[in-house]
Amino acid sequence: MDGWTGKVLDIDLRDGTVTTRYPERTLYEAFLGGRGLAGVFLLQETASPYDSPNPPICVFPGLFAGMGVPAAGHTSVMSRSALTGTVAEGRLGGTFGSLLKRAGFDGLVITGIARRKVGIEIVDDQISIQSCRDYEMVGQRLSDIGDETAVLAIGDAAWNGVLFSSPITDDGTAVIRGGGLGPVFAARNLAYIRVTGTGPVHVRDRDALTLQCADLQRLLDASPALMGGRGLHREGGMGLLSLLADRHMTPTHNFRQTHFVNPGDLLRPLQQCRPAAGCPGCPVRCGMETPCGRPLPAFDVLSHFTALVGNADPAEALDAAAFCAEVGLDPICAASVVAAMLEITDLSLEGGMLCALLRQILLEPSDQRSLSLGSKRYAASQGASDRSMSVKRMDLPAMDPRGAMGLALGFAVSTVGACWRRAIPIGYELLRKPVPLDRFSFTAKARLVQTCENAVAVLDALGVCHHLFFAISPGDLAGVLSTVTGMAPDASRLAVIGARIDYTERRLNDRFGIGGEDDLPSRFFDEPGCPAPGFDVPPIDRDAFLRCRERYYRLRGLSRSGRPTPETAERLGIE
């Protein structure tokens, strides 16, 4: 099968059995890969708690992984979140997905609970479950890797039961929005997945693919957000950090304010940062490092470890981010629970306190858990549930929703809880691409969020980095898809696939008992953001928000309460 290997591995950790599934081509064409396939395989299992043998951990590279398509090597890791109870989808870049495809597999479906700590070893078509009795063995295996090997593992945070722990990759970064997946691995005694892949990845027409990639590259080059003077290619996320600050959308002191300090002033010690190695084959290369070689965290991590918690020391923010990466803590959730705690206890951070708090979270005894349960459970335990800035128990990222109404709606209706990467309406609302929309208006925002969600779902299924959403739409990838698989997609068909992927997750959440939680914390409807010269940041108009959400439900084919319906599921071809 061109584009796909045609094989999905079923791995049962309970008895170590490994079987191969051969999905029908119709399934592949309906869900493509990555997040799409991960969701449909997850849906085939029961709606059990995260620490039961089911639901499985689904690891699926995007369809384009391993093919040389620019910025298209991402992998989705999906299961039921220990933190939120919803579907959880973490994303990783790097080489993992490409190598899994080169090993000959479109994905992994991992079920069961191992009797002791194990790792999954995949060396091309040789699969084994290796026992690893103590953690040092895992450390050795993680360091002993070559260019054709990649590792996904969990760290101390997951083993210690921190609910927002996340898997980490061999390049030392946490899986993006992987908070809640760490405990799922730990509950199965799954320490790591290591893959070596040396085979080719077949595409239908390599020459035509090269031409399509050149057209794609032209679109990326034309994007100021990607390749411009302050774009990701030249400044990592600093440009976006500055833009959010200019728009007074910087979450500050647990979202009590929306403006901290000028990022230029705050990050001046880091202004000599230079581009670092990015994901292999990516022309954007958004990674940055300090002059002494420390990786600069993503813009949202930097923002949360400074403004959100009221820390004016960028060095401490770097230390906090590095600690999270080392032990496998989702940095957004980590910063958020600290911010909630500071507000509830009316404390302010002092020097060194941030990292000390993170260590405290890591080492909380199992019978005294509070912060390690995440901001929502912590705040509720303190009788201050409304001080958790989260949706469906997933903490808000580094963009204040009072600054963009499409963003606000997107946070509320996202299947994984608050996440800016689920819909990415900021392309229209902040970056003026493809055309500018009034960020303070709800006009057309229901359709905007639905359209963007469908588009992002397609990108996720193809393994395309979210950043490319600032420059392209799925229609721009139709030609690539055709040269790879022989499918003849168009923008409309891709939109249907995106809708199908999104709706599959809503069916999952419905099965998990999640419903009626498409909302934002009351703070955003009651309190204004910080005014700026030339504009105010008012609270969100609650009535307008609810009307917009209602329109969104209708567009999405959901019930009045936001739950999936059998009719829409059938129309989209979902069981």
Binding site: R218, D221, A222, S223, P224, M227, G228, R230, S242, A444
Partner: protein
């Protein structure tokens, strides 16, 4: 939403591209909203329903665009534009029959299509303005393509008989541009005065058809800050769409024009204060008029020849700041010249203190290029006859 579609319809008419009787603009939120000719609404609605799209524009452009479109659509084959922006963002322009399903099928592949007989249809995901931008891009693309192909046909002796009346019709509309006086003169005492100069210049170039509204860009240095139009900003309505970029700070903003780096380097390397970038048609047409038969994929990035038009150098360069970006070629060329044409793309002009000489130069060059085009056509036709 209703005001949105009406505003878009007004813009198309104000730009002189269509009359109210020949256009329809549609958008949907809870319900459909349309502006324009009521007899076009049923077709528009049907196509929007088939596509489930948020916005739609359809118009029969005025002459001479209409004549060109009818000619180009006669063959039934997709139109492959040669100008840089259309190549990058629209790729090609399908030609379809007036059957709603055929139209919808084509619009599922591409953002804009042309019907046999010369109607343009375009879609937007959410905003009618998005659809309008794609639609107006088609007008520019087909004009440039027709004229470039005509020059090639004349040179090679392959002129179709059906092309001749169209050419004559198009040429009958050619009149030299009259450069209006530039009111805002430097040095500028304040930021607001500087911005007013940018707004005035932007209006001037759009109103004289030297660039489509949401294309082109403009910058002005004032007190060591480079003020530049935002990406996608309407040059004829720049109020609130200008970003200040300190010259000693980080390189611009995320919302600055995609050609910010070019503007920055021009100002830094030439010492000028004002930079104006437009897409005057005849400058673009003549830049594409070349006797060599290189692969079109090479022309925009690796043209081996040193070419010029009316003494203005032509350089290669793609849109934006990638490896082949025009920011690599334009600034250097402007060190020795006050104007540069980017092959298949447009014209950059620079001036000191204010936009007066830049505007004058742009008008003068476009008139010169128009004259050169007419001379080439006349001479070639005389030779053939």
């Amino acid at each position: 939403m209703k005001s949105w579609v009406c505003r878009t319809a007004d813009q198309l008419q104000r730009r002189g591209l269509a009359t109210a009787a020949d256009l329809v603009v549609g958008a949907i939120e809870e319900t459909f909203h349309f502006a324009g000719a009521t007899d076009r609404v049923p077709m528009a609605r049907e196509i929007m329903e088939r596509l489930d799209c948020g916005a739609f524009v359809s118009f029969c452009p005025v002459t001479p665009y209409r004549d060109i479109l009818r000619f180009l659509s006669e063959s039934g084959t997709d139109i492959r534009p040669n100008d840089s922006e259309t190549r990058t963002f629209l790729h090609d322009i399908p030609v379809v029959s007036a059957d709603p399903e055929a139209i919808a099928a084509a619009l599922r592949r591409r953002r804009a299509v042309v019907l046999h007989g010369g109607e343009i249809m375009a879609v937007g995901a959410v905003s009618p303005e998005e659809a309008a931008v794609y639609g107006t891009s088609v007008c520019f693309a087909i004009y440039v393509k027709f004229m470039v192909d005509t020059l090639a046909c004349l040179r090679e002796g392959t002129m179709e008989s059906s092309r001749i009346p169209v050419l004559e019709r198009v040429m009958s509309f050619l009149t030299p541009l009259s450069c209006p006086p530039v009111r805002c003169r430097g040095p500028f005492a304040s930021i607001s005065a500087a911005m007013e100069a940018m707004e005035e210049t932007g209006r001037m170039v759009v109103e004289n058809d030297l660039v489509d509204s949401c294309f082109g860009n403009i910058s002005l240095r004032h007190d060591e800050v480079l003020y530049i139009s935002q990406t996608g900003a309407p040059l004829d309505n720049l109020e609130g769409c200008i970003d200040p970029c300190p010259l000693d700070g980080p390189a611009g903003t995320l919302t600055a024009s995609s050609e910010f780096l070019a503007h920055l380097r021009i100002v830094q390397q030439t010492g000028c204060d004002a930079v104006l970038h437009g897409h005057p048609k005849f400058a673009v047409i003549l830049s594409l008029d070349c006797e060599e038969r290189c692969s079109s994929r090479i022309c925009h990035t690796d043209c081996p020849a040193q070419r010029s038009v009316n003494g203005v150098p032509i350089v290669t360069g793609e849109v934006g700041a990638g490896a082949n970006g025009l920011f690599q070629t334009v600034p250097e060329a402007l060190m020795e010249n006050d104007a540069v044409i980017v092959l298949g793309h447009g014209l950059f002009v620079r001036s000191d203190m204010d936009f007066a000489s830049a505007v004058r130069r742009m008008f003068e060059l476009e008139n010169a290029c128009m004259k050169t085009f007419i001379r080439k056509v006349t001479a070639a036709r005389k030779q053939r006859s």
